[in-house]
Symmetry: C2
Subunit: 249 residues, 2 copies
């Protein structure tokens, strides 16, 4: 039987990359959730609901095997008044509904902003360069550079709790710089954290397929420049990125 | 001039231990804040306000050098509906008001519950014993065993952000098991994380006096049994605990 996958925040950029890459490739039964009604035909049932609407989220979770949770305020400048309900409370709503519905796995869209403050004046721009050895691997404590990043770090901790106490498999993907084309050659930071659309789709596909307990992984392509390790994503999820921001001049 | 210290949640157990230990010993100018009006004479100005009341907290912060932030729902069984506003948002209110008022230091009462899920079936009860070498030292990722612990971990991340982005000195104290008398001899876990009242007062006194950037330390006495390292508290804060839960039979 086809796996049933709930994708929250389906209409956003990450959701678009995932659906573009997987709809024709995989036989998932998609259930899509977004705050705004769709403007085009959709590859599955579409639920229009706010992620903080517990009843609607619980209903959308019925019969679901895996959740890709992207919904939330995506702006790095988002104010606390928005990230507190939408990103922190909304993520708690998703985990809780998933546990109660017997869902097996939740892939949570965390962000590079959860660790943005590691990019100190002392480390930059060297850390963006190919010969630099500085790496974050997911075992480090969060260092958010904004309140959006704080909200993502909080979502990771919530996932840890719902895994430890309720047995939910949770993978937090600290998504880099997702753009359809590769970043400009002179944008060193962007190149170092580039995630291509097809690598993004593949990575979340692995989050649906692989077996794991609780993981924090980085979501970037196999860039020559990097300060995020993708070893854990390779090992645990079987992530095999095809793109590299280098070699595009 | 005497240092001015704002103590939030002043009427709680931790606040009581701090005031009992320091009021006669130190020349601090105390400003005390609690949700409930005091029933006895107080050693300083007393502000009755909810910690989520931004305006009241801002007013209480005026002219303050250091903050000891204890206010919040202290129940380990506290529901999300309470810890989200009181512990997470309330702590954000405190950091933000502190930054805006030019406060130098905030000591945040975190909790052993931020890492409670490290106490797995495989590790317990061995980890509570004197000959066991398992130690948490503050560099590990949070593993909360309840939503109260999630809220404390979120408060730690908020502190990291307000330090990195706004220069506030923040120390998060993962308080163990604070009781006036030592725990029963047969309560191994309680003995391992015991914090005596006088060690608690001394530890928060060091949080007012010492210089630091951002720190996570454990707040326990110098117990023979322990699975929390107090090395960082010794090194950075000059913490010198006098009590030990052992030897009390």
């Amino acid at each position: 039987m086809a796996q049933s996958v709930l994708l929250t925040g389906a209409a956003g950029r990450v959701g678009t990359a995932i659906l573009d890459g997987l709809v024709d490739e995989r036989e998932y039964e998609w259930r899509l959730l977004d705050r705004d009604p769709p403007t085009e035909d959709q590859p599955g049932e579409f639920v229009v609901a706010d992620i903080t609407d517990e009843e609607a989220v619980r209903e959308a979770m019925d019969g679901v095997d895996a959740v890709i949770h992207l919904a939330g305020d995506p702006r790095k400048t988002a104010p606390w008044e928005s990230v507190l309900p939408n990103n922190i409370d909304g993520t708690r709503v998703v985990y809780e509904a998933a546990v109660d519905a017997g869902v097996e796995k939740v892939a949570f869209a965390s962000s590079n902003h959860a660790v943005g403050a590691y990019e100190t004046d002392e480390r930059t721009p060297e850390m963006y360069r190919e010969d630099d050895q500085f790496r974050l691997d997911g075992n480090e404590l969060p260092r958010p550079g904004n309140l959006y990043g704080v909200s993502k770090a909080a979502g990771e901790v919530l996932g840890r709790y719902y895994h430890d106490e309720h047995g939910l498999s949770v993978v937090c993907v600290r998504i880099g710089n997702l753009t359809e084309g590769h970043p400009p050659v002179d944008y060193e930071r962007g190149q170092a954290m580039w995630l291509s659309y097809r690598d993004c789709a593949h990575l979340f596909d692995r989050c649906i397929q692989a077996d794991y307990d609780y993981e924090i992984v980085y979501g970037i392509s196999d860039n020559d420049r990097k300060y995020y390790s993708i070893e854990r994503a390779r090992e645990v999820l079987g992530y095999e990125p095809q793109d590299n921001s280098a070699g595009h001049d």
